[in-house]
């Protein structure tokens, strides 16, 4: 019973790992290991053999650098109308403030002054307050407000420049760079090959540091937020390198530093614009963790 059991187990194990398209010669080796009784033994030997021989996929780490929005987004039409309605309701339900009471008082006093039977002696001895009418106060405040010029919220020329960090201040942007992979020039999130002796997060930090612009970012944790397995086209596949696995790490931009030289292949893109630059399979994996909220 043991031998046929073992063979069945090894076959299912082989089918499970077929997705990684191991070369056929390996399966024979598994079958030989699988002759022993329990399936646990076969799996153990499988993992031992795996660490002994390196995985055929190269490892790389990429950084998903996000510039968070700097200004609040514009209200959509329904949001605007709801905002107005709430403002109206709150005004109706409120009490009169001190300023409004003063306005009403002043208006009444003016009416009494303009009436024919006005006697200034009847007035209370608050003559000092008459010098500054509340309306004048309001006008002076209005003037002060007009004299302050805030920075413009939307600047069309900067918005069109894809490589500037200051574009589209109301949305969150992703950094995308052009890199040569194999013999192709592709638009990707900045990535770097993994080296022995470092964690994947350190690889991602290296990828960020390798960019021509000095960008300071805070990495959010040691765990990757997504993975993309890139399989080399069939003719290029060898025994040891079937492709690369790229792990993405999320970081938030804290300081953009001096502006980038115009020729550097760096773009800041919104989530909706990514479609025009990234490959479809890559985009499918990447847009799952890019939050556009």
């Amino acid at each position: 019973m043991a031998a046929p059991c073992g063979r069945m187990v090894s076959r299912s194990v082989i089918q499970f790992f077929c997705t990684f398209s191991r070369p056929k010669s390996r399966n024979v080796g598994f079958r030989q290991f699988g002759i022993s009784s329990a399936c646990r033994v076969t799996l153990k030997t499988k993992s031992v053999s795996e660490t002994a021989s390196p995985s055929p996929y190269g490892l790389a780490a990429a950084v998903y650098l996000q510039r968070l929005p700097v200004i609040s987004a514009d209200c959509s039409p329904i949001e605007q109308s709801f905002k107005d309605m709430m403002h109206q309701i709150e005004l109706e339900k409120s009490l009169l403030s001190d300023h409004e009471l003063r306005l009403i008082e002043d208006a009444e006093r003016l009416k009494r002054k303009q009436a024919d039977d006005y006697d200034s002696d009847e007035e209370d001895s608050h003559m000092d307050q008459d010098i500054v009418l509340t309306q004048d106060l309001e006008d002076s405040w209005e003037q002060k407000f007009r004299s302050f010029q805030p920075a413009p919220r939307v600047r069309d020329d900067v918005d069109k420049d894809m490589s500037s960090v200051q574009r589209c201040l109301a949305d969150s942007l992703v950094l995308v760079s052009e890199q040569t992979v194999g013999d192709q020039k592709l638009w990707l999130l900045p990535q770097m090959q993994w080296q022995e002796g470092e964690t994947l997060r350190q690889t991602a930090e290296r990828a960020l540091a390798s960019l021509p612009v000095g960008l300071k970012a805070t990495f959010l944790g040691n765990a990757p937020c997504g993975v993309y397995t890139y399989k080399l086209p069939k003719p290029l596949r060898t025994e040891s390198s079937l492709g690369t696995k790229v792990f993405f790490f999320k970081a938030i931009l804290s300081d953009s530093g001096p502006s980038a030289p115009p020729n550097s292949a760096l773009l800041w893109l919104k989530k909706s614009e990514l479609q025009g630059y990234l490959k479809p399979a890559y985009l499918m994996k990447v847009e799952r963790f890019i939050l556009d909220l």
Binding site: L68, M85, T199, N222, G226, S254
Partner: protein, 201 residues
């Protein structure tokens, strides 16, 4: 009168009681050898030796002081006054009748419009919430898959990825304002007097 009484009783009493009590009463004992047993009140130290003001009295005084202190503490043990929450107390300014705004009647169309807008708004907010939840779930799913892949690829990298990052917190980020920051803007000095009331318990 009591002396005559004691004289007649002491003839009845045995001699040793009279002698023992002779020293007890102080000057009363000296005046009469006949000390009545009924008025006899002796305490052990008084009986044994003449009154001393050494160790005994300080102890007693200490005990008296402690008792007084305990009584004082009990009196002082008033529960601390609760700090009033100023937000929950309606200031008397708001209850002034003069301050009520003149209510303008809302037309029927206006109230209808408001009701319909509220319904629209709830639908819009629900869609927004569902979209947010979906986005967050997909991000979490993507992370879970990434960690699984990493585990299959390399155990030690997986363990390194699971370690908590202590350099991340405390993390601060300035949230979005209405207008972007102006470069080279000098803000005017703002002086204000802090009028918050501080309570001590």
């Amino acid at each position: 009168m009591s002396l005559a009484f004691s004289r007649c009783i002491c003839r009845v009493l045995p001699q040793h009681i009279v002698q023992r009590s002779s020293l007890a009463e102080g000057h009363a004992a000296r005046t009469a050898l006949y000390v009545p047993a009924m008025t006899l009140r002796t305490t052990a130290p008084l009986r044994a030796e003449p009154k001393k003001k050494k160790k005994v009295d300080p102890k007693r005084e200490q005990m008296m002081r402690e008792r007084l202190k305990k009584k004082l503490k009990k009196l002082e043990k008033v529960p601390p006054e609760l700090i009033p929450i100023e937000d929950f107390i309606t200031p008397t300014k708001c209850l002034d009748e003069e301050r009520t705004r003149p209510i303008s009647a809302i037309s029927f169309e206006e109230s209808e419009r408001r009701a319909l807008l509220l319904k629209e708004w709830s639908r819009y907010k629900q869609k927004q919430h569902m979209a947010e939840m979906k986005a967050v779930e997909s991000a979490l799913e993507s992370q879970r898959e990434a960690l699984e892949e990493l585990k299959i690829t390399s155990e030690e990298l997986y363990q390194a990825a699971l370690k908590p990052d202590f350099t991340l917190l405390p993390f601060t980020h300035e949230g979005p304002a209405y207008t972007p920051p102006k470069s080279k803007y000098e803000a005017p000095d703002g002086k204000y007097t802090d009028t918050t009331r501080v309570y001590t318990q």
